[in-house]
Amino acid sequence: MNAMPGIFAAATGADSLLERWPILFRDTVAGFFPAPLQWLVGSLISILAIVAIFGGVFAALTLLERKMLGRVQNRPGPNRTGPFGLLQPIADGIKMLTKEDIVPRSADHLLHFLAPVALLAFSILTFAVIPFGRNLVPLELDAAVLYFFAAGAATELAIFMAGWASRNKFSLLAAMRALAQLISYELPLLLSFVPIIMLAGTLSMTGIIDQQAGWNFGFIPKWYIFTPWGFAAFAIFLVAALAESNRSPFDLPEAESELIAGHLTEYSGFKYALFFMAEYFGMIALSGMAITLFLGGWRAPLPFLEFIPSYLWFGAKLLGLLLLFIWIRGTFPRLRMDQLTRLAWKFLVPLALFNLGTAAFWSLTSGWSGPLQLARWGVAIALVVVPFVLLGRGLSRGVAPRTYRFA
């Protein structure tokens, strides 16, 4: 109800047609309907667009991930289905759809069914507030950041439901692991972007992106990642996001080799595909959040590149982040449970708290200029690096690089 203005944000300004066409298209289609229904139609078009586009992204991402993992391991990756294996996602989808849906006899049937649905629903909910381009915000909320994480918090519940409903000890262990992990990493995730909210002074996504407009010296974008505290926050956010989306190296709840896929053990067929989809949607949503918070949203990195439509910039940044996620997955081995929680509580949380202080310093010294500007940078970088090094030393105390005698 309050969100209606967001749905009908007018495509204003002297943007190019390329920039405006999504909004124009929606408004035109909605225009065919009687006025009381227009908001509904408009919303439906937005929803359909999101589901279609990100469904496609999901499909492409599965292929991309497999291709890239193949390359990481010096393999070509899937290349049989269609040219260069491009039809692989379709084949996978058909396989998943036609598979037998098995539900254990002693499982909690209702919850077993609800878990993947809820998970997917919550992950798609998060897309509602991400600005995909200029004026391309499905839902313009005053407290959008809070909404995002409120919706994201509910995914933990779905994973717990899945694990518990399966009546399988591995699944239950996975559920408990998932709870512990998600709770542990919720904290650094939230703490990492508090500095941004502090500096931007708003919880609104568009507000945050507006704060990152412009360029320093004409070519360095005023994105938050290009500040010492912003960079640190971005790194923390990235690690926490990996953990929140259960991606390797934080895939303990799934942990094929330990828990035979954890909460997914008793799922097959399309329900399994839904889990899969939800995981990727979560990853995409968190990447979109990272882009919005740290990478200037849909803004172009250089002034002369602004002719490219904003949603393409968003897509490019999204692709970059997703590739980074895949790259990380292809590189790092899985953490142990104690390492996981230690990393969160003894490293990321204190670091994020320090970073809050750094951001406060940054905000207080915004008036400094000239040589003081250099001092500001120096102090801020020191405030980031010194806790990092000290905490890192504490974290890796007693852990020497391993030497293998027989390798």
């Binding site: 309050n2 909690d108 919850l111 909320l141 005053d142 407290a143 809070l146 909404y147 994480f149 409120a150 919706a151 918090a153 509910a154 933990e156 519940l157 717990f160 439901m161 518990w164 239950l172 408990m176 709870l179 998600l182 709770i183 919720e186 002074g201 708003t202 919880l203 609104s204």
Partner: protein
């Protein structure tokens, strides 16, 4: 008005069912639904910040703690059968609860209340923040201290007494 009725339905029915179910996990999950309904009420009332806070805190955090507590305290004797005094207690509870309900309804219905006008502008997040930081600074600090103390207290309480803890917490 219909919105309110739907919200009431979403809030009350799961809560009522949750209180009647034997399975604690189901109860907890239903209660989470009920809490989400309360968040919807906040949203309906125009306090969207509060709605998201409610979801974040209740659905995101408290529910986790509840589920954890349930998992950590399974295998109780109550799992096996019904305690002998259950029926009596339930009846007493229903009776007293019904009495309270009646009293409250009577009180509410017999009170003439003003028909409030719709607020012109809902409170913005920014406004809330300013108010929180300016007028209610002390309260904010106190809540911060309270949360810290509660965190520490919870850790101390839940940590097992002996060093050989883990097998204790089955």
């Amino acid at each position: 008005m219909t919105g309110l009725l739907i919200i009431a339905l979403v809030t009350l029915v799961p809560a009522a069912v949750a209180m009647a179910l034997r399975n604690v996990i189901h109860s907890a999950l239903l209660l989470i639904l009920s809490w989400a309904g309360i968040a919807a009420f906040y949203f309906w009332a125009g306090a969207e910040f509060l709605a998201f806070s409610q979801v974040l805190v209740y659905v995101g955090a408290i529910s986790m703690v509840v589920l954890f507590a349930v998992l950590l305290t399974r295998h109780t004797r109550t799992d096996g059968g019904v305690a002998p005094d259950t029926l009596g207690r339930a009846l007493a509870g229903l009776l007293i609860g019904g009495a309270v309900l009646g009293v409250l309804f009577g009180a509410v219905l017999s009170t003439p209340l003003p028909i409030g006008s719709k607020p012109a502008a809902a409170v913005t997040v920014h406004g809330l923040g300013v108010e929180l930081m300016e007028r209610h600074t002390i309260a904010l600090l106190v809540v911060g201290v309270l949360l810290t103390v509660a965190l520490l207290g919870a850790v101390v309480l839940a940590a097992s007494d002996s060093r050989s803890g883990p097998e204790d917490a089955r």
